[in-house]
Amino acid sequence: MFSTKINIKVLFSIVIISSVIGLIFNSFSSERIPLIRDKEEILFTNITDLNPDSTSTEIRALDTKTVKELFDQEKAVFIDARDKWEFGEGHISGALNVAEYKYEEDKSKLENIAKDRLIIIYCGGDDCDLSKRVYKKMQSDGFKNTFVYLDGFSIWLENNLPIQKVEE
């Protein structure tokens, strides 16, 4: 028959030894991360503060009102960080789809965009992190005038602002 007997000491040893190896490996790894994560600072920016050479480490965010103004003035490039299916179902009119999970593949779409161009990145809503991740990736690729539209597509849609769908 079967048995459920285990050696509890062995079980804890495996967990503890593995954790210690992980901690040691992390302290020597080139991909090292700090033991305690820093809180991500989100900095809301006004339309007058749009500074193309910002080197701030915070995530710069824009609210719906500001994003709408920039949209109307056709001043910004919109980047949709969600996957192609969600993008296809509806996105901010004129947005480019640079999906977070295949950023390396999709970033070819950014080739013709000047590095100092005003770029607004968004995803589904304020509970998704895709836009923040694409923001960081684009920042390290040299795009310095980037912002996250934190309210995202759900609030854009709620406000009946212009959207587009991808026709099959």
């Binding site: 007997k5 190896i21 994560r37 998704c128």
Partner: protein, 140 residues
């Protein structure tokens, strides 16, 4: 039925399969700890202070448990670790679905574009079933 389940070759095959999955899952996360930490954050359950600690240690528990399973060392103990982790992953993914969260699960590091969803739960239930089987019938 019990005789089939006690079959040595069946047990070894399942152990090997489970071990391989854990090694791949662990290694993918070890390569990109920051990406994995962000995946953990997406679940919005763990306090910020614990996120990086989990991202540093959990992949190594998976990796070492997987290696020990493949080599047939401490099979029951490792199968129990596997089962507990799988049960935890199922609860995490379910809680994400019920809270309407939509993101990549991070189950195999950041290269895994599978989103949290019922398919992921089904996969994990399959792995949980196999690991409980190895826990019950595996060698001491």
């Amino acid at each position: 039925m019990i005789k089939v389940l006690q079959n040595k070759y069946l047990l070894i095959s399942v152990q090997f399969f489970l071990g391989l999955i854990f090694i791949i899952a662990g290694a993918q996360k070890i390569i990109n700890p920051n990406g994995f930490a962000e995946s953990i954050m997406n679940y919005r359950i763990f306090p910020l202070v614990s996120i990086n600690y989990i991202a540093i240690t959990l992949p190594w528990i998976e990796l070492i448990s997987g290696i020990l399973l493949i080599f047939g060392k401490y099979v029951k103990e490792n199968a129990l670790i596997y089962s507990v982790l799988m049960a935890a992953f199922i609860i995490l993914v379910m809680s994400a679905i019920f809270r309407g969260l939509d993101f990549e699960c991070g189950c195999f590091g950041t290269n895994d574009a599978t989103r949290v969803g019922w398919m992921k739960i089904l996969e994990n239930v399959g792995l949980l079933t196999l690991s409980v089987y190895v826990y019950l019938f595996g060698e001491k």
